[in-house]
Amino acid sequence: MSFLKTKDLTFEYIRRDDEGNVESVVTAVDNVNLDVHEGQFIAILGHNGSGKSTLAKHINAILYPTEGAVFVDGMDTKDKEKLWDIRQRAGMVFQNPDNQIIGQVVEEDVGFGPENMGVPTAEIWSRVEESLRAVGMYEYRKNSPNRLSGGQKQRVAIAGVLAMHPKCIVLDEPTAMLDPNGRQEVIRAVRGLNEVEGITLILITHYMEEIVHAHRVFVMDKGRIVMDGTPREIFSQVDKLRELRLDVPQVTMLAHELRKKGVDIPEGILTRKEFISEIKKLYGKVY
């Protein structure tokens, strides 16, 4: 079933001078058509300024389309009466973990969403416990968020969204401010949510390693979707990605370069394991 649909979505940032005359118009999202099914893990790639964050903010009805329309679970985001339903169903995790934690204690922060929705007290507690367990932060429930590492804070933020029982979580560069360990922690936690709980994931990132397991990848440039396919399909086009100023994972790059030098290795290798098995196929055991 289709969960998210955008129809010719266009968004313009309009800058006006003091008299209200239009000074400049920047088209951040340009004619985007997306169709995301329930339970999918979608990745949106793009370098800075490609419009991927702007696109993400449309899914949570923080921004509204200048032209076109966005439908979340069948509801038009322009429909003011459905606003809170949309925000509950499509939760959002932002880049900076410090700026999205409201509570002074971990459990209080996770309870913030359900409190706003008017969930009864007893149920808030059970939701908080289940969400914190799902991201592996239950033993930190009494801690102050200030004492946690970046990865832990981001997992708390994810639990905070999870406690609202969303169908979909939009993650807007959740790992951009984290170290490699924290990055892995967060990606592992959200992948678990997708695989175990069947929550639709929309991951916005510019780290290639994070999208290897996605079901579908969209690459954005200048507000448009320029590539669309499985990670393997995307990563087989190394030269095109480079043109868009995007990196590919190291092994993919290595395979690509080897292929250029005449080694008969397929394009679009995603993991180290795959690479090793391909090499073994070619040369047998080499000692």
């Binding site: 809170w84 999205q100 409201i102 209080e108």
Partner: protein, 270 residues
């Protein structure tokens, strides 16, 4: 250095006083403060001291923490005492050169010392035994009646708790900015006051810019999590009175009535 700021100076331990509802403690502190200004004789103060000592005992907070609060007012205390001691007209007891100490002055200064120190210790019992969060919750609940005259009580309480959450974050950021400026030769330890104040400008400007940016981000994150003001909101930790809270109210009212009655008897009046 700046990181060590603690606000609300909450002392973590378990006691009857800690477990009391924040509203009881707020109301109790208020009653206690009022009672201090109604006494006309020493017996009232004696009762207040005994009562406060019992509460401190029950709170399991070491006495030295209470005294710590006193340190901050020692300067004010000294000035009030000096003024009262030498400036009150009355019968002269001691006179040194041009300065005269009168009996009324002596009495006034003793009352001042008693009042101020009881005032500060009394309110620090409250802040030491209540978490800042609990305190804002209690305030929100108690001020609930003001909503009818359109005072945004929920919003004020929300702002207070967000401010408390961001104090350590902004303090850390100040630290970072200062270090960055120091690495580029800024001098924060100059002996000249004007120079030191000037050196603060390049710290404050980026701090403000980043605080606004954070506020913007936070507002967006709150809206994304369905925040829409206090209406229709439930509480994860609602304030509910337990039996001990009613007993505490009883004890407080009893203290108030008795101490004011005794404190206003016409014996040994000031």
């Amino acid at each position: 250095m700046i990181k060590d700021i603690t606000l609300g100076q909450f002392y973590q331990t378990d006691s009857v006083i800690h477990r009391l509802d924040a509203r009881v403690k707020l109301g109790g502190t208020f009653l206690f403060l009022i009672s201090l200004f109604m006494f006309r004789n020493p017996f009232g103060y004696a009762l207040a001291i005994v009562f406060l000592a019992m509460v401190i005992r029950l709170s399991n907070v070491p006495f030295k923490y209470m005294v710590r609060g006193m340190k901050s007012i020692i300067f004010i205390l000294a000035i009030t005492v000096l003024f009262n001691l030498f400036m009150t007209p009355g019968n002269v007891i001691v006179s040194i050169w041009k300065l005269k100490i009168t009996d009324a002055g002596l009495k006034n200064s003793i009352i001042m010392i008693l009042r101020l120190s009881l005032l500060v210790t009394g309110s620090s019992v409250m802040t030491l035994t209540t978490t800042p969060n609990n305190l804002t919750d209690g305030l929100e609940k108690m001020m609930g009646g003001l909503k009818k005259i359109k005072v945004p009580v929920h919003e004020i309480a929300m702002m207070m708790s967000i401010a408390l959450r961001f104090i350590p974050i902004l303090a850390q950021e100040t630290d970072k900015i200062m270090k960055a400026q120091m690495a580029r030769g800024a001098d924060f330890e100059s002996k000249k006051l004007t120079k030191r104040i000037k050196a603060l400008i390049p710290v404050l400007v980026p701090l403000f810019v980043s605080a606004f940016r954070r506020a913007n981000d936070l507002a967006m994150a709150m809206e994304a999590r369905c925040y829409r003001g206090g209406e229709g909101r439930t509480k994860m930790k609602p304030l509910i009175y337990a039996d001990r809270d009613f007993i505490a109210y009883g004890v407080l009212i009893l203290y108030f009535v008795v101490s004011v009655f005794v404190g206003r008897l016409k014996i040994m009046n000031f």
